[in-house]
Symmetry: C2
Subunit: 286 residues, 2 copies
Amino acid sequence: MTHPRLSLNQATIKYADLDEALAVPVAAGYESIGLWREPVQAVGVPDAVRRVADSGLRVSSLCRGGFFTIEEGPTRRAAIDDNRRALDEAAALGAPALVLVAGGLPEGSRDLIGARSRVRDALGELADHARDTGVTLAIEPLHPMYAADRAVVSTLAQALDLAADFAPEQVGVVVDTFHVWWDPALEASVRRAGAEGRIASYQVCDWVTPLPADVLLARGYPGDGHIDFAPITALVEEVGYTGDIEVEIFNQYVWDAPFADVARITAERFDALVAPHLRPIPAPVA
Amino acid sequence: MTHPRLSLNQATIKYADLDEALAVPVAAGYESIGLWREPVQAVGVPDAVRRVADSGLRVSSLCRGGFFTIEEGPTRRAAIDDNRRALDEAAALGAPALVLVAGGLPEGSRDLIGARSRVRDALGELADHARDTGVTLAIEPLHPMYAADRAVVSTLAQALDLAADFAPEQVGVVVDTFHVWWDPALEASVRRAGAEGRIASYQVCDWVTPLPADVLLARGYPGDGHIDFAPITALVEEVGYTGDIEVEIFNQYVWDAPFADVARITAERFDALVAPHLRPIPAPVA
């Protein structure tokens, strides 16, 4: 039995198909999973919805939408339309949030400010559909080392500024320890996010050095790196986050391990390093 | 003839000894150089002072001091003493600033806030000696991807907060495009740095993707990467910086090239991408 708020993000067992990705956390005592669109689409959304319901798992989030930085034209239109479909899929799956990766600088462009303004524009186009579907657009600030080629949203403060034009139910933020642990303004930004009701997802994984050759794969199990999960977790709790907590690890070593081992180690680390800093679980009524 | 404010940081021609490091920029028309302590110490400081004087070059900065995050004990005492010597060396060489790399988390520690507070403590111990020597302690915020293992000072705002207890002549900041270009708060922080008189050094090099296996070597010539030097340079100028502008490139490809080629390409890129955004050079009096 793992902590009831622990959710296994499907990317942590990247090579599992949807049935495996649902069976593994169930067998390991999880109650929640973070899904990705590709394995869902591989079986079709209606069928995925049935399989998720059969598993008994909650869906903590759907990954991912975004890629909003390209200039106006057919490719941008297709991206906006695809994000609308992603909201529909999240709603069908019962996911409260669609995780958004902003996108990097368009090919050949050095206009960082322009790229960031187009992220805001895209949120404006999608916010009504977010309200209609009941799914929150969850902006994930990515570590600044990805600013050029993956996400021009680099800090929690910036994500909150982008969200500020919209209701918290429409646009929120993801707090992922890997991406934000270094931020000198982290405490202030998490407090602001809590006060504004914008924390749509809290995710934990560790920052491991030396960084691997592919820095996209630099994440590790909690405890394998340099992040102190105690103060960040306690703060996210203190400011009012009550949702599931995902572990999402991109790491070739983790991906190559048996799925059941990954789920077990993830739960052990979570229970040792994260769970002690959460509010006590109310005792069941006798 | 290169731009009179261009300075070649010695690390850009890492394998040059001091004599070569002085001869190369002179031959390429530079008027300024950024020195490193190791090649200076290889010939001894008094001899280095003579050679620099003979070269006719200004010294824009000395690299580097810092490594302030270790807990109290003999190693920390040795680091503080070494920084005092570094200030003496900078003064002897005529360098206006000693560049500081804060240091990463101590081995096995996850206490980021504690490490950051020890940086502030070290500045407090060194500030009087900075005033006595006339050399500014120049805190260089490093890119957040180095927060664990190299520098717990990750943003310009944080560096300015650390400097705030001291006079600008004692403690300033380095604005290095590679480290700060991604920062959503960059404009606000540069304006604050200018208003407080704290910009001790402006350095330019580019952010090139994909990152190399060793992310310490990710820097490139201006123009080879994703940074738009125009707005950052214009802003640094606008807020009052009038000093030399260093190009400091850690990159194996650059290091393996002939020194003269590196100096020439650096000047070409600077003249094309940075110099147009500087104030005009006053015409000589006829």
